[in-house]
């Protein structure tokens, strides 16, 4: 494209060349000579630049690596300071002036990517370092490299994007403390020691279990000398076993839990706490498993306690924390704007007019097939009513009233043709409205995106047409497009009838199913920790989960439920406000309602045998772990 500099020069050289040649060539040849020389030079520069860019586009090679502590890493820790190193190399040829910039992840604020400005020559790779500071666990998605090339004079500019997708998990920060301080008790055990739980079977623990007669082979240090002296025979001390426990973390990653800003959604907060629990349990040599649940199913990692497994759990938690809500109930037009903005940035080559055409007929709004079409058809057939003699007679009288004498036939003809003229006008106005704003940019955006979607899905032209015609299909695909590129889509939290679109009651059945299956196969006393946003669900909706909790408790498993507390609801309900504005009263009513619902859920879960832990928005992970630790030690003291 032309830069402003190029446009101004063309505006001067073009008229000088054309006007001078047409008018002055026969009288003053120097003027057209100036214009022709300038225009020829301009066109030559354009052709040379276009050729150079065409040659170079496919020859850009991009490599990206994350570096932390002076070495390349495949994942980063939250609150660390890694550097994204992008290496750009041209395999052949050169570009005289380029501006190269790495596109930062959409949900990472405050990143100012370093730019390379200057020449790019084959054999001389360019390195761009961008420091990032992730402040929440999740996934960083780097889309690629934005390239702007200029000719040496700055008259022309070419922009394109080299897609080089890299997804980097951001793991939660490591906790330094060891396992819990409270020690639970197990009735049965099938796991090899050591661990932190007390099993009342002889073993190598620290707590005294019993005294018995000495048997040959018992280590001398276990002999109870005082008891031996009293009984006049050798007595040996027996100790309890310190054993581990299986911990299964059930994480609610349903659509409702994904709503919220980056790093502050319910699932992100729950995943951060779950990561702390996993690390704490692993420090106590417990076996940790993970089940990430949403409305559609579950992704399960069986319990294990290797270091590699621990990292795998943290990666899965990071992936779960990064999930974005799928937009429901949002209009196609509202979604098409951010989707088109994203596509313009990341897929500018696929939106180019020479590949992704916008034929003029696309913008014409056909009347037939719509309600207005019936009116046009009706107006077309209206003149045939004149075949009825009475109507024709009255029309003839009317025509004679207005038409000059002797021209009554012309007036009658005009009256008969009037519906056709009006119908044609309606048809034309209706159709041509599609070529004017706001319809035209909407249709253009939608068609361009539809072609990109259809090509990406390899679904053919029929699907392209469906995306153009069908609002629901387009909105669904545009929402998936945005979430796949980690751009938070616009959401409609409330449906047309005032219903909450993101309550996600379907997750309860999935959570309950996982808990029942885990209980069914458990041969040991296990600990189930459910991280789920359940506060706004009714007793009927919670019934499957309550039944599963009761079943688990009946088999002596421990169940803890951790519910996130919304940041915008006060933890303690204040008094009824006096003399405040309506917004304050509404907020108070909402907070009061949430407190009541939470209390009801707490009552239900406690009655079923589970322990409810509230994870407040400002709570550090350590504080939540302390709360869980107290749950773990319940009944453990003697």
């Amino acid at each position: 494209v032309l830069t402003p500099r190029g446009r101004w020069f063309l505006a001067a050289a073009g008229p000088t060349a054309v006007g001078g040649t047409l008018v002055l060539a026969g009288a003053a040849a120097l003027v057209p000579l100036l214009g022709m020389a300038a225009l020829g030079w301009f066109l030559a520069r354009w052709a040379a630049f276009a050729w150079q860019v065409r040659q170079a586009r496919g020859r850009l090679v991009v490599r990206r690596e994350l570096r932390a502590g002076g070495r390349a890493v495949s994942s980063v820790w939250a609150y660390s300071n890694p550097v994204v190193r992008l290496t750009v190399e041209l395999t052949a040829g050169s570009l005289p002036r380029v501006v190269l910039a790495d596109r930062p992840p959409a949900d990472l604020d405050g990143v100012e990517p370093d730019e390379h400005v200057g020449r790019l020559v084959a054999g001389s790779p360019v390195v761009i370092d961008t420091p990032v500071k992730p402040t929440a666990m999740g996934v960083l998605r780097f889309e690629g490299l934005a390239v702007r090339a200029f000719d040496p004079c700055g008259l022309f500019e070419a922009r394109w994007f080299v897609r080089h997708v890299t997804e980097v998990p951001v793991l939660p920060p490591l906790l330094s403390a060891a396992g819990g301080k409270q020690r639970g008790v197990k009735r049965v055990n099938a796991l090899p020691p050591p661990g932190l739980y007390r099993l009342r079977r002889p073993g190598g623990g620290g707590e005294l279990l019993d005294l018995r007669d000495y048997r040959p082979g018992d280590p001398p240090k276990t002999i109870a000398w005082k008891a031996s002296a009293r009984r006049d025979r050798l007595i040996t001390k027996e100790f309890e076993s310190d054993v581990p426990v299986r911990v299964l973390l059930l994480l609610d990653a349903s659509t409702g839990a994904r709503v919220g800003p980056a790093g502050e959604s319910a699932v992100a907060r729950l995943a951060m706490v779950a990561a702390g629990v996993a690390q704490s349990a692993a420090a106590g040599r417990d076996l940790v498993g993970l089940a990430v649940c949403d409305e559609d199913g579950v992704e399960l990692l069986s319990p294990a306690r290797t270091a590699a497994h621990r990292v795998r759990v943290l990666r899965e938690l990071a992936r779960a924390a990064a999930r974005l809500p799928h937009p429901a109930g949002v209009s196609a037009e509202r979604l098409s704007k951010p989707a088109h903005a994203l596509a313009s940035e990341v897929y500018p080559d696929l939106l180019a007019a020479d590949l992704n055409a916008l034929p003029l007929g696309l913008f014409w709004r056909p009347a037939l097939g719509r309600r207005i079409g019936w009116l046009v058809v009706g107006l077309f057939f209206l003149p045939f009513v004149a075949l009825i003699p009475v109507v024709l007679e009255r029309l003839a009288r009317l025509a004679n009233l207005f038409a000059p004498a002797g021209y009554g036939w012309a007036g009658l003809l005009g009256l008969l043709l009037l519906p056709w003229v009006f119908g044609g006008l309606v048809w034309f106005v209706h159709g041509v409205r599609g070529m004017l704003p706001p319809h035209r940019p909407q249709t253009a955006r939608r068609k361009a995106l539809a072609a990109v979607f259809a090509a990406a899905d390899r679904s053919g032209p029929a699907m392209l047409q469906r995306y153009v015609e069908d609002d629901e299909a387009f909105a669904d695909r545009a929402g998936r497009f945005l979430t796949a590129h980690r751009v938070r889509p616009p959401l409609a939290l409330v449906g047309p009838d005032g219903e909450d679109l993101y309550r996600s009651p379907g997750k309860v059945a999935v959570l309950a199913g996982v808990l029942v299956r885990a209980t069914a196969v458990a041969r040991d006393n296990e600990l189930y920790v459910i991280f789920a946003d359940l506060a706004e669900l009714t007793a009927d909706e919670l019934a499957p989960l309550l039944a599963a909790v009761r079943a688990a408790r009946a088999r002596h498993h421990a169940v803890a439920v951790m519910v996130p507390w919304p940041a915008d609801v006060p933890a303690d309900l204040p008094g009824i406000p006096h003399r405040v504005k309506l917004a304050g009263v509404v907020r108070y009513a909402q907070a009061s309602r949430y407190h009541r619902q939470f209390a009801a859920v707490r009552t239900l879960l406690t009655a079923a045998g589970a322990t409810l832990i509230r994870a407040d928005a400002g709570d550090p992970v350590r504080r939540v772990l302390d709360k869980l630790d107290r749950v773990r030690g319940v009944g453990g003291r003697r």
């Binding site: 001067a12 040496p152 719509r370 029309l395 392209l464």
Partner: protein
């Protein structure tokens, strides 16, 4: 601060331009153009090249500044070296001026040699003259397409000459720009990425079958969503109001 090579080329071009105009059109024209070129370069004023081009063209036509009596010689009188130098100097100044701006903004090095700028300016001047000669001296033979005849200035009227030049100029520019654009498009087709090729294929197939696909979508929706892309809110009531009013008027006017 050491001036860059491009700055020196721009200053040299300004000097050649001023000298050429001084020789061809007199002192005041050369002085004015030279002053504008130097001041624009020192001030880094971006509109200088197009302004200089227009000013040079104006002063070539009206050397004393008053638009009264144009001065100059036609194409048929041949070219003079001074005129070619003026044209080449304007082009060289433009190229060097813009390069100094780009280098200043982007901090680029001065490793580019000087001679391509000078050679390009000289080629542009000679090529421009050749194109001007072709456009001004020849015109298409309308009786035998794709053949050209020399313009007879004593026979052809001024309007006929202008029309002939217009056809020749349009043909020349169309051939040059169209040929270059076509070549670049072929190169682009040859270098399409898989994603671009998929979009091109699906879009081409869609354009060829668009009406059938639209009909199939309409059938698929049927009665479920008859107005899925929004209806016309005012057309229906307007037509009904028109029909009702027309019927009432017809009845009352013709009841007698």
């Amino acid at each position: 601060m050491t001036p860059s090579a491009d700055t020196l080329v721009a200053l040299g071009s300004a000097a050649v331009l001023a000298a050429g105009l001084f020789a061809e059109r007199g002192g005041s024209a050369g002085l004015a153009v030279g002053a504008v070129a130097v001041v624009g370069l020192l001030a880094r004023w971006r509109p200088t090249p197009p302004l200089l081009l227009l000013l040079t063209a104006y002063l070539c036509l009206f050397p004393d500044g008053r638009p009264v009596e144009p001065v100059g010689r036609g194409v048929s009188a041949g070219v003079r070296v001074g005129e070619l130098l003026i044209a080449a100097a304007v082009v060289a100044y433009t190229a060097a001026f813009y390069r100094t701006l780009t280098a200043r903004v982007e901090g680029a090095d001065d490793a580019d040699p000087v001679w391509p700028t000078v050679a390009a300016a000289a080629t542009a001047a000679v090529g421009g003259w050749a194109a001007l000669v072709v456009v001004a001296r020849y015109q298409p033979d309308y009786a035998r397409p794709l053949r050209f005849v020399r313009v007879n200035e004593f026979v052809a009227t001024p309007l006929e000459q202008i029309v002939g030049r217009f056809v020749m100029l349009a043909g020349l520019l169309g051939a040059l720009v169209g040929g270059a654009a076509g070549g670049l498009w072929l190169l682009r087709l040859n270098r399409l990425t898989p994603a671009e090729a998929r979009v091109l294929l699906v879009d081409t197939r869609w354009r060829e079958t668009r009406s059938e696909l639209a009909r199939a979508e309409a059938w698929r929706f049927g009665e479920a969503k008859p107005d899925r892309r929004g209806g016309c809110g005012w057309c229906g009531p307007a037509v009904l109001a028109f029909a009702g009013t027309f019927g009432l008027v017809l009845y009352y006017l013709t009841r007698g």
